[in-house]
Symmetry: C2
Subunit: 191 residues, 2 copies
Amino acid sequence: MLLYNNSRSGNCYKVRLLAALLEELDVLDRSNRPEVLGDLNPALRVPVLVLDDGRHLAESNAIIDYLAEGTQYLPQDPYTRAQVLSWQFFEQYEHEPNIAVARFLNLFGVDASEEFHKRLHAGGTKALEALERGLEGREFLVGDSYSVADISLYAYTHVADEGGFDLSPYPAIRSWLTRVAAQPGHIPITA
Amino acid sequence: MLLYNNSRSGNCYKVRLLAALLEELDVLDRSNRPEVLGDLNPALRVPVLVLDDGRHLAESNAIIDYLAEGTQYLPQDPYTRAQVLSWQFFEQYEHEPNIAVARFLNLFGVDASEEFHKRLHAGGTKALEALERGLEGREFLVGDSYSVADISLYAYTHVADEGGFDLSPYPAIRSWLTRVAAQPGHIPITA
């Protein structure tokens, strides 16, 4: 399988991290070239996974759920699976558009209005508060074990400081980040 | 089962629409009261589904996938399921935050900066262009039949004009909207 990848993207990191945990997927990096993605993803974004038979799949969370099917990282029970999806949709709606975008602006020195920066900071803070509430008294986001829900939320939370977010008010998030990073087979975003 | 609902929200409409198609779920409307949602959804948003045994589920797309499990509206094949999720994550990331938010500002006369309006219009147009590419030459978004992917994207696309988006440049979207609305058991967003 071939992964169209961007080495700085947390969305692509989700796929590389799960692939490392599963130890069963060769990941080839390709630079982000929207012009080559036209036939693979109507939204022209990475990551895109291309299966050996040429079929392809877009959206980081859809990709990791597909790869995790039948493994310990995606529960079989319908309600528990739905809880995983619930966190993943939360991540794409409330978390990534604020925290990942703020990090992107910082990392690449992109010019943006103060209004936009404020909007990202307020939205990202709201997302971190929700994540903190969701993690209080829990080891992992869903059930009692590490799942793709944790991978989806870990990807940009653990680098939230690069977007100007201070995690010190969130003790449940901080201890969860430590537990995720301690999982056997874990790789950093730079790997 | 009880649905915490908002009658103007397309995200809540997704759940009501699928429930109408399945003809097997009683939907009770509740006004959107964040203060009552604290124990049900860390993100404090509707829709939230409460099962008969008290377990609860947040995020519109996670809810409809849970309800559709085992029906014709959610494919069994893993790759086809992943394609459904891919469109649903696209919806939450690129489509809803622009088109639904622009509609919200218009419907409720919310004050927002010109910069924000421009950002929503540009983002929503990009999402509609991607949706048009995804629908070209197809009857429905995934496989050959109507699925929860169509429900997820229909919810705000069919009222995009209320957000100031003109659908006349998108013939594939327009004919798909007609096909979705012609499905047996279909209900309008106002139902």
